[in-house]
């Protein structure tokens, strides 16, 4: 049973939209609602900012060192633990 609170429903739709869980028609409806409904637009914008914040601040490790790559290739070449 769906929560009758419209804000809850906006969040549910926005999350499904941003997680690419909606079909083309549902995506169009979300974009249409974002144009017509300021509160829905606010929820979408805030959630998008939140996702961007996560992406920006999740620790991304720098490129794997050549040492690791060499180790992997060397172990395979030597049939180590294979």
């Amino acid at each position: 049973m769906r929560n009758p609170d419209p804000i809850h429903e906006y969040h549910r739709m926005v999350n499904m939209f941003l997680d690419q869980q909606l079909n083309d028609e549902e995506n169009r409806q979300v974009l249409h609602q974002a144009q017509e409904n300021p509160e829905f637009q606010r929820v979408l914008r805030t959630e998008q900012n939140f996702r961007d914040l996560i992406k920006k601040n999740v620790v991304q490790r720098p490129q794997a060192s050549s040492r690791i790559l060499e180790n992997i290739r060397s172990r395979i070449s030597n049939k180590e633990n294979l």
Binding site: N57, R61, I72
Partner: protein
Amino acid sequence: MTKFPHFYDVNEEQRKHFDQVFEKELLPHINALSTFAFHLTLNEDDADDLVQETYMKAYRFIDKYLEGTNAKAWLFKILKNAYINEYRRKSKAPAHVDYEDIIGYQDNEDSAIGEFTDLREELFNHMMGDEVTNAINSLPVDFRTVLLLCDVEGFTYEEIAKILDVPIGTVRSRLFRARNELKDKLKAYAVTMGFTDKRKPRVRRTE
């Protein structure tokens, strides 16, 4: 010691082909795997070991991999299994307890989803990078994992469910709880930095 028969049964031509597939389709994902490993172990050396172990396992079973399919998801699944099977068991770290175990969570889909935490846009002005990173890293590992797989790596719910060996409803529920918990942490941090939410509290309706 028992060897994996397929590894020694293949001829030189097949071996070269496996090596090409390994180089072209599997190794290019090493940076994403490295980040995932770090978020599981929160330790650089353990993460490097985990990545190496993942690639050794992938090569050992490369004949099971279908060329041109989702190599990244396949590797992430191997890495996750390697982490569970070896690192958790060997680790002297305190026993891990799933969040779901604590709250008696059932694998029901939307029925497990409660109220969404609603952030104010102004709150983002109070966010500092380090604090956000710390908040993400302080989430339980199951929550960090789904956030990374969904929001950073862009896997679908279906792919995440396969990687983690859990139902899609569990993926959805963990994402919901992870995001809410992170929002609560960020709100709490913003309040310490002087942010005040001037909205009237919403009346929470029950279903």
